[in-house]
Symmetry: C2
Subunit: 413 residues, 2 copies
């Protein structure tokens, strides 16, 4: 018996379940795999023996895998659990995997989750255990090394660009001076903030200013930028990355200086802070807009390119595992941008785990308040294509693990 | 020569331009109307002679009217201008209307804008001037009297319900206790806040608590409600109306006590305020989400029912004007809910102008922290149906007045 277990970990995106669906589809059609299991809440759940039988759940209703492909967030639940790497914990994981005859371990996550893949792959090699450990990338932040771009980013980019257009239409109709500050996620990387520039089509000038965390932020410069734009435009839209810092490396407004379990500072409030600055120093109508978690799991406006790539990256990972690869992560190499063409690759997970890919300085303009055409060209193909999400009673018809009666399906001792 | 002028006023919705498209389509096909003009920025623009020729703009490219129908916010621009009603101002309006041989004046707006319709209609009657003045309702707040519901509400309701589902999927995947507070627009009326309940489909329990401005809000009760829900659920989602007030009638958190031009208090910050209370008193993970203007102009997730009704209400208003009606506003009468059936009506604008329709107390549960099934039944049909928005380069392909070169089209003296 050669079984496969799959888990999801970290923050959600609109297409992590596409990768899950791709991996399940691939595993179901591969003769070398008997049963497909799922960890509930990633390795944290695995350690508590929270494992469900996905073969029982989906083999009798394959149409549900299509629904799963178009459901945002994480069907299996997530965790933010960092393996300590201690012998006891690793032994516990291996003993549970052995109990289920797991030979293939597939983990969908970001740079923190790839640390789990790396530690487990290293451990199995060291101990001569026949379990192949493979990662599937995901993050709206697009800050993963080893891949041209990360699944989840294209859909979030599409959402942010669409959101900026909506706000520009909303605010542009008034004949009064106004400033809108839109705070975008992405931690220390400015990829998603930069994606707001795609809102500029035809005569749309918004966003008028874009500030990425890769360039030190000056409140004084920001104010003079805003003033200059207000001379020319009635309604000015500025997009700021949640992680912008001053020249000393301090977050512009970190109302909370707690850090999460991985040591990342919790960022909040830069939009609201800059709003108060503009109100005080310029005095026109100002709004701060913080799409927050809405931007990372808006299942009704996903990128078809992103959904398809996420699905395929799940397949690539399962194929790698059954071919005996371990300690690798599926990824994307861009062959060309115009026309857009990519190939799927495998990358050593060491390249991905615990590292961050920042926006290159040359893709940000000299003044540090906008991005360059190269950056626009890089992102543009990633938001292309629309998905016909099924609707029911006027709302997207997502799949929920509770619909499938986990209690009945749950594999218990 | 009998010409028609049309304007838009107040806050935006996703379907005000559908009403504009319906009115233009109808006027183009009516032999009694020669030229269709548009006011830029409502009566404020009219007073400054900012009038464009919509016949020139659209008769040669009728396909653009279809794009207009699916473009959010206000194609003609908006204003928040209250007519003083003084003789000088009314004379100025009439003289400009006469210069353009206007016989029909159509105004799309909410309860404040209907004040303009009423004053102008009254003035023309008093002075024996042959200009028919007719209103078309719009507001996401759904607080207009004289109509079963307001165009714009259905699409905003669909957005809010979809947003709550997305957030529930996003937050439900973690195995930790958390509270999400979503602040919804609607001023003193709780209709849009109530629409969040439509997120509950199949096994989805979110939102777990709903607080409408119609019921006095107690922070203590809110905290005990949250605590009770946290006993049962990992992730609790509470939706609060921006205009909730305490038993003394004070806004729970009006960080700004300024009022807008119509005397409405500017509401901001109740979500953030309640977040800080939950953090302090309960101490679990808490987020405040404020969709803000995004909820009123999300053109990519509109209700087909809403788009169609908005379009038809534009037609009904133009038909009324050419039939010699004045001082009326088009509206909707519900014939039945299951199956959903309506008829279009005309209402005396006095009923609509400057009044607010609140949610009846019987549609809110006894505890004041949820709504009743009658309320769900009332809203459900209004979010039904999806619109196939055209996309270009990965984003909704809206129409912008700047695309059509206003400067060239603008009718100047």
């Amino acid at each position: 018996m050669s079984n496969l277990v799959i888990g999801q970990s970290g923050g959600p995106t609109a297409v992590i379940n596409s990768s899950l669906a791709g991996a399940i589809d691939c595993a179901f059609s591969d003769q070398r795999i008997d049963t497909v299991y799922g960890m509930l809440n990633g390795v944290e759940g695995l350690l508590e023996n929270n494992i469900i039988n996905l073969s029982n759940m989906f083999k009798s209703m394959p149409s549900q895998l299509n629904r799963l492909k178009l459901t945002p967030a994480m069907f299996l639940g997530s965790c933010r659990y960092k393996l300590s790497g201690c012998e006891l914990e690793m032994e516990r994981i291996i003993s549970i995997l052995k109990k289920y005859d797991i030979e293939y371990f597939v983990y969908i996550g970001g740079n923190d989750s790839m640390d789990t893949v790396k530690k487990l792959a290293d451990y199995t090699v060291k101990k001569g255990i026949n379990i192949k450990v493979v990662g599937v990338p995901k993050t709206i932040d697009n800050d993963l090394n080893g891949t041209d771009h990360s699944p989840g980013f294209g859909s979030a980019a599409k959402y942010i660009a669409s959101c900026v257009r909506d706000v520009a239409y909303d605010t542009g109709m008034y004949n009064v001076k106004s400033v809108h500050i839109i705070e975008v996620m992405g931690r220390n990387a400015g990829w998603l903030t930069a994606a707001s520039a795609l809102a500029r089509q035809e005569d749309m000038c918004a966003p008028h200013l874009i500030y990425l965390p890769e360039v030190p932020f000056s409140v004084g410069r920001f104010l003079s930028d805003i003033k200059a734009k207000l001379e020319r435009y009635n309604s000015v839209i500025a997009v700021v990355g949640e992680g912008i810092k001053d020249s000393q490396g301090n977050y512009i407004s970190a109302r909370y200086d707690e850090t999460d379990k991985f040591g990342h500072a919790k960022l909040i409030g830069v939009g609201d802070y800059l709003k108060s600055v503009v109100e005080k120093e310029i005095g026109c109508k100002v709004r701060s807009l913080v799409p927050g978690v809405i931007q990372r799991s808006a299942g009704h406006i996903t990128s078809l390119t992103d959904v398809v790539e996420a699905y395929n990256l799940g397949i690539v990972a399962v194929n790698a595992a059954v071919q005996g690869k371990s300690g690798v992560c599926s990824g994307i190499r861009r062959i060309s941008t115009k026309p857009y063409s990519i190939e799927y690759i495998l990358e050593d997970v060491t390249v991905v785990a615990n590292t961050e890919k920042k926006v290159p300085r040359r893709w940000i303009n000299k003044e540090g308040n906008d991005i360059t055409q190269e950056m626009v060209d890089y992102i543009s193909p990633l938001i292309e294509g629309e998905v016909q999400v099924p609707y029911r009673n006027g709302l997207p018809d997502y799949i929920d693990i509770r619909h499938l009666d986990v209690k009945k399906q749950k594999y218990t001792d």
